[in-house]
Amino acid sequence: MAVKSQEERSIANEDDILDVRNSVKRVTALLNFSLVNQTKIISAASELARNTLEHGKGGKSIIQLVTEPERIGIRLIFEDTGPGIPDLARALEDGYSTGRGMGLGLGGAKRLMDDFDIESKENEGTRVTVTKWTEKN
């Protein structure tokens, strides 16, 4: 997998979530994702950005355009240096929430994207990486 381009955005307040969403939207449109997939990716980005803000006490997002021989995709990385997630398995369950959402953030984002990866260390931070692929055209 090769990274063609990337942009970084800090997530420090609610307006930044909107900025992340808009950047993601631009990249998905560029990659010719279908409207449904665009909506899925933007929603996943919004969920994860909100997690970074609320649970990670702020952090940054990296939006990447990635390629493989047969496919092209968007990869989103959300990083924070917050308290970390003590119980990962539980955090991925639906309905588990410590914030203002519906507790669907992590599990939901996982379902909306193709690849999902999470690393978290207590008191060090959390890093979530998600990717959605589309065929090259």
């Binding site: 279908s34 449904v36 021989p69 047969e70 065929e135």
Partner: protein, 288 residues
């Protein structure tokens, strides 16, 4: 490794490029099993192009890994060659053979230069042989990938064709589902169904699963997702054609069936849909 030969590989080749090329082309043309689909001119072209790129790439020093950027042009050329050859009716092994057949003239040229039994020469032969094998296999791989892309595209087209959304009445649309309902299929069904609901302004959608062979947890969940997405849009979903075994499976799976409307047959579903829309029918026996 033995990459540090006294005379670099590319120098051995560049000196005799024309000779190698002529002999290679001659060999290829005289090969009885050669695919007749490939015109002589294009064979000549691709042969000389191959030698040119081959020399260029090995001059840069890397003779082990064809994934490296030095080989990019070569890979590109091979991908194109593999595609053209395939469209001319060559099999992937024909195309690979094209590359393997370079070994004969190439090695013939290397050995006398160094003398029989020379270790340097055999090391060079070994290296070049590995390299050509890799390139040959690369064409086969590309061929396969092209095929897979075609298959994927056809699968997608088939999926789209297999989910016709029919407008059965003003405000009523129906999808007869046939075949296994996996998650990719459900996505397409959902997308086409919801779009049709918007386009026709339909309040009722009928999902007929008479043609769905089995229902497992996954399928049932997919069905439920379709029902709730339809509802979020402001339309109602009726599931029809639930066969006895499937009904039992659904109960067994413990899925919440309280807010699903079901009907035994598509006809019943249509009747129900029309009744909700305020339509009523009367049969005039005298006109039959």
């Amino acid at each position: 490794m033995t990459r540090e030969t006294a005379v670099p590989l590319h120098e051995m080749i560049s000196g005799a490029k024309e000779e190698i090329l002529t002999e290679w082309i001659k060999n290829q043309l005289s090969d009885k099993s050669r695919s007749k689909g490939v015109p002589e001119a294009s064979l000549r072209n691709s042969s000389s192009e191959f030698i040119r790129l081959f020399e260029e790439a090995i001059t840069k020093g890397n003779v082990d890994d064809i994934e490296k950027p030095e080989w990019e042009e070569m890979r590109h050329m091979l991908a194109e060659l593999s595609a053209t050859r395939a469209s001319q009716g060559s099999t992937p092994s024909d195309t690979a053979k094209f590359i393997f057949s370079l070994k004969e003239p190439l090695f013939a040229r290397l050995t006398p230069e160094k003398g029989q039994g020379n270790t340097e020469a055999s090391a060079a032969v070994w290296q070049l042989s590995l390299l050509l094998d890799k390139l040959g296999l690369y064409t086969a791989e590309t061929f396969q990938r092209t095929r897979e892309a075609i298959i994927r595209r056809q699968q997608k087209e088939m999926l789209e064709m297999s989910t016709p959304v029919i407008k059965v009445w003003d405000g009523v649309v129906a999808v007869p589902l046939i075949g296994t309902l996996d998650s990719a299929r459900t996505q397409i069904v959902m997308e086409t169904l919801l779009q049709k609901i918007v386009d026709t302004g339909s309040r009722i959608a009928i999902l007929d699963i008479t043609g769905v062979p089995t229902v497992d947890t996954q399928t049932a969940q997919h069905l439920m997702k379709t029902v709730s997405a339809t509802r979020l849009m402001g339309a109602e979903c009726i599931i029809s054609g639930i066969r006895p075994q499937i009904a039992q499976t659904i109960v067994h799976l413990g899925i919440d069936i309280n807010d699903i409307v079901t009907k035994a047959t598509m006809a019943d579903a249509i009747k129900e849909a029309l009744a909700r829309g305020g339509w009523s029918f009367e049969r005039h026996l005298e006109s039959v």
